[in-house]
Symmetry: C2
Subunit: 472 residues, 2 copies
């Protein structure tokens, strides 16, 4: 009897350890209640009590009297004092998302990841909408095909051909968004516990997404010419990742561009270790001239290209895409049917197609690039006055990745600025290794308000306080 009880205790301990390894339970997170976990495991509550006590004795978890058991580990640098349960986590990648998506019009958002609404091609979109009002009943009412709008896929195939990527319309799958495109690929290729390589720093939502897939995330230091190719190859050998996710042109958050040499070295290393690469091309439209693409060099053999229209066309009319090997697209179609019943909204795809085809769209892109080049220079100059220095001057896009003066902590600054209704993007939310606390990502298109610089200056004055507390 004791033996069996002992075995069950061990099983419960093992189940908790597995959840921690798979990131289902993260540092600082509360463990399931005794009663509910007993039911989950099909054991008695006393068995769970014993298992939790033993894990606490090992220091793996901690008991907080009157509250329950919590996973031990680093406390969240950006934990909000009044946090919801899921916000109470180490360097929460949801912080910037939710602050910038959900806060009201009184908030200034130099930390957000999109252009102001009046920079978008709204006249062309309104024309497309009026045209949609005259479309066939079928387009307005039906689900549409599983790959999504054929005219839009053909248009994309032509664009890809111009970039040297031969992909038929059948190799393109439309999705509800760029993020959902990556999500679908992760579902297809990853299993809980698999390792995924990302750039350090990288787009913070990659980390959130990979956490949702219970992937192990390993960062590769990012240089001004792309990820460090030497360390990339070492990481492949050491961690055998299943996937690498990157932006090759106009990298988020640094704005850097990968050189052809780096691209070639990455692909050679990827081939040697049978690694799949997701190339997120969401900022492609902002490039002054095309830069090397992994998908073009590789020919969509082990590279999957994804993208969307949210940055240059509309984030309200959402549509993304995947271009990949034909057999993978087939599998992804099934997965998208299972998880979203069919492709993206046919009405949305039609609006995107009509806007891209509008005579004004190319001029809109040209205008955006010129305008961004100007505000990038102006913003960089104003930030330099405050001691905020761009890590590099990007060729395009709207990001400036800036280092803070010695000793300043970006998370402290973000907390202080939030008091003044300014949402910043502190470096560590982009960094898997949490080594970017001395950086902020600025969106130069959202920096027109002089008040932002006042708030920054004031926050920088207090930016040395390591114990700055946060409350709303």
């Amino acid at each position: 009897m004791m033996d069996r009880r002992g075995t069950r205790t061990g099983e419960v301990m093992e189940a908790i350890r597995r959840r921690m390894a798979g990131r289902t339970l993260s540092p600082g997170e509360k463990l399931p209640s005794i009663r509910s976990f007993a039911a989950t495991m099909g054991v008695s509550p006393s068995t769970v009590v014993e298992a939790y006590d033993r894990l606490a004795a090992e220091g793996v978890i901690q008991s907080r009297p009157g509250s329950g058991f919590y996973v031990s580990g680093a406390l969240p640098p950006l934990a909000l004092a009044d946090a919801e349960p899921r916000r109470d986590r180490a360097i929460d990648p949801f912080w910037v998302s939710r602050q910038s998506l959900d806060s009201g019009a009184e908030m200034l958002k130099p930390g957000c990841g999109w252009l102001p609404a009046d920079w978008m091609p709204n006249a062309a979109i309104r024309r497309a909408i009026r045209q949609l009002a005259r479309a066939d009943d079928g387009l307005l009412a039906d689900y549409g095909g599983t790959r999504g709008s054929l005219p839009l896929r053909r248009l994309l195939a032509r664009q890809f051909a111009d970039e040297g990527i031969a992909a038929g319309a059948d190799q393109i799958l439309l999705t509800a968004s760029g993020t959902q495109a990556i999500d679908l690929i992760c579902r297809f290729l990853l299993r809980p516990g698999d390792t995924v390589l990302v750039d350090d720093p990288c787009y913070f939502n990659f980390q959130a997404l990979l956490r949702a897939h219970q992937a192990r995330v390993v960062g590769v230091p990012y240089t001004r010419t792309g990820p460090d190719a030497e360390l990339f190859a070492q990481a492949l050998a050491a961690h055998r990742p299943r996937l690498y996710i990157t932006n090759s042109a106009l990298h988020n958050p640094t704005g850097a561009t990968m050189t052809p040499q780096t691209a070639h070295r990455l692909l050679c290393a990827a081939a040697a270790h049978d690694l799949t690469i997701v190339e997120d091309d969401i900022f492609a439209g902002f490039e002054p001239e095309p830069s090397p693409r992994l998908a073009a060099l590789d020919g969509l053999a082990r590279v999957i290209r994804i993208g969307s229209f949210s940055k240059t066309l509309s984030a309200s009319i959402r549509c993304g895409y995947i271009a990949a090997r034909p057999d993978w697209v087939e599998a992804l179609v099934d997965l998208q049917v299972a998880t979203n019943f069919g492709g993206p909204s046919p009405a949305a795809a039609e609006l995107v197609f009509a806007t891209l085809n509008d005579g004004s769209y190319r001029k809109h892109l040209d205008g955006l690039r010129r305008r961004l080049a100007r505000v990038r220079r102006e913003t960089a100059a104003k930030l330099e006055v405050l001691g905020l220095r761009p890590w590099l001057m990007p060729r395009g896009g709207f990001y400036l990745w800036c280092s803070l003066p010695d000793g300043r902590n970006a998370a402290d600054l973000a907390r202080a600025a939030l008091h003044d209704n300014v949402v910043l993007a502190p470096g560590d939310v982009f960094s898997v290794s949490h080594t970017a606390s001395g950086f902020l990502r600025f969106n130069v298109a959202q920096m027109g308000e002089p008040r932002i610089y006042d708030v920054l200056a004031r926050a920088m004055g207090g930016g040395l306080r390591p114990t700055a507390s946060f409350s709303v």
Copy 2:
């Protein structure tokens, strides 16, 4: 050395067994190639060869010379001779989806799950679209809040209040579709290997979705008054499922309605076993008068209500919703940000809101219900002539779940009808236990073409051939 090699072989065997247990590898599916799986596992190809050989000796997998290794097990009753890899599976729930979504205008689709386009409220949708063309730039260009359109959530909250469900707008989360709503809940509550209860028969895509989550699916026999409450309670005790997914009103595929007694018994059993229930209310708009709802009885404590507008408004302008406990909604918001960056398309939500608010929408629903009642009677009468008998006459909706004359096999019929450009929905794609081969689900709104009955009559003539082969 031999020891270590032996251990590694065991690990590879164990990895394959785990994938089979978690449904990552299903009966009939091809195993990864020796080379790629060796790379995945970080072992030599010869180790994988040995592991595959041993599994083959155990009968777990089978070698097909010149082709590779396949998981043993029942052969897919609906396997297409020219199948893509992912189609080549036991009772493939993707079959009906892809046939009905992707086939051309020459196909008649009495097996599909939606109304003809000209039955939808297209005039009101066109008015909503023209109104959208005059909206603010922000609505046309921005991501919108993470919960989705507040006006639409408020409208839903008022509808729920009328049904006796007190849910504030903050307890409602808009999603890209009804399927995506369930998907998000599965991500939140399920871990690979968890057990989920469904009705037998149930909407076939529930099975596809749960397979994507690597859940173990257990079916509860469905009766004319809802799931068999006795067997439901037994299944909870025996399998300790995490989740039960059902349509409580106008069940898909049978069209049955759960009685208040059944609803009460299910909720008592669920409470005793700490089960969460997802109530998919997608056919609610078709009910002649409201029927008991699990969410109303339970008060959204352990029931999560989901729904969408695809069946009565538009499947092209896609939008779904989740109503749940406030803390669960918070967690689901984070998950939706991570996997889709934000909520559903604000433009789509605005079109749905404007159409629901259009004075004509209530009349549209009344008209739909009357029209469906009429074609339901007419279709049932025509099917009876062919020996196809409705299991029950539904109170509403567009489905008729019909039994075939003795010995006829629905999958054979579906294969034969596909030759004649008619897509049917054979019973076993809805049945976890594959015990519905004597049923077909018909969509009475898609049965206007006399040719359908000719094709059915012809196919029934040949429906006894158990070895009917399929080729396109």
